[in-house]
């Protein structure tokens, strides 16, 4: 990727769509990371992300708050 392309996302020019996206709350560093990948790598990354969410849903357990904090028990 050319340096000027990276600059567009890392230092959005005033009045650009990139600047508006950042103001809207978009993290363009994530977009830039994706644009550095091939289309196939983008799909694999998307699936890895989905797999991670699925794993968390399957494995995360909500625990009741502990009566003893780490600080108190030391």
């Amino acid at each position: 990727m050319r340096k000027e392309d990276e600059d567009y996302f890392l230092n959005p020019p005033p009045g650009s769509a990139a600047e508006r996206a950042v103001e809207f709350g978009i993290d363009l560093t994530l977009t830039l990371e994706n644009l550095r990948l091939t289309p196939e790598e983008r799909i694999r990354k998307l699936d890895d992300h989905l797999a991670g969410i699925a794993w968390l849903k399957a494995n995360a357990r909500l625990k009741p708050p502990s009566k003893t904090t780490a600080h108190e028990s030391s």
């Binding site: 990727m1 392309d5 769509a17 978009i26 977009t31 644009l35 983008r42 998307l46």
Partner: protein, 163 residues
């Protein structure tokens, strides 16, 4: 879990005549926003409807927006009588659109489309500018987030960023 990969392989394997739209199209164009379902705008030629019905039955497609006990025969005629369908399948959620709001039917959606080679298949993907149009027309909060990012990608491509 390889949802999107499985869905794309399904499309490629069955040689469905369609244009990839929605979040997966955005991802292929470079968007970092997550998506889980695959949206396609499909050709409604009789041959493609037969192919689609066969393909969908092979992955146990069932309507997501209908009671599970509702009798539903998935064949060419059913697809011909309807237009847009939301399916849950063994390879993940798959949305079939006969018409993309703001863009049009298959013929308008495929016009100017991009072509991406992924997983050994060549896929037709809605042009970035048309995807933006569709997202703006849909206008839901999640679409407006996508619009902000896609506009930046489109502008970057306009100043020389390669696909």
């Amino acid at each position: 879990m390889k949802a999107v990969k499985s869905q794309l392989e399904f499309l490629g394997r069955h040689e469905i005549e369609c244009v990839i739209i929605g979040g997966v199209a955005g991802a292929l164009h470079g968007s970092a926003l997550p998506t889980t379902d695959l949206d396609i705008c499909y050709s409604r030629t009789p041959a493609n409807l037969i192919k689609l019905a066969t393909a969908l039955n092979s992955v146990n497609a069932r309507l997501r927006d209908a009671p599970s006990d509702l009798p539903f025969l998935l064949d060419e005629e059913t697809l011909r009588k309807g237009l847009n369908f939301t399916f849950a399948t063994d390879v993940g959620d798959l949305d079939l659109l006969g018409e993309v709001k703001g863009v049009g039917f298959y013929d308008q959606t495929v016009e100017g489309a991009s072509s991406f080679e992924v997983l050994g298949y060549r896929f037709t993907v809605i042009a970035l500018a048309k995807l933006l149009l569709a997202k703006r027309t849909a206008g839901r909060p999640k679409d407006m987030i996508a619009v902000a990012e896609l506009e930046a990608i489109l502008e970057a491509k306009g100043i020389g960023l390669e696909d």
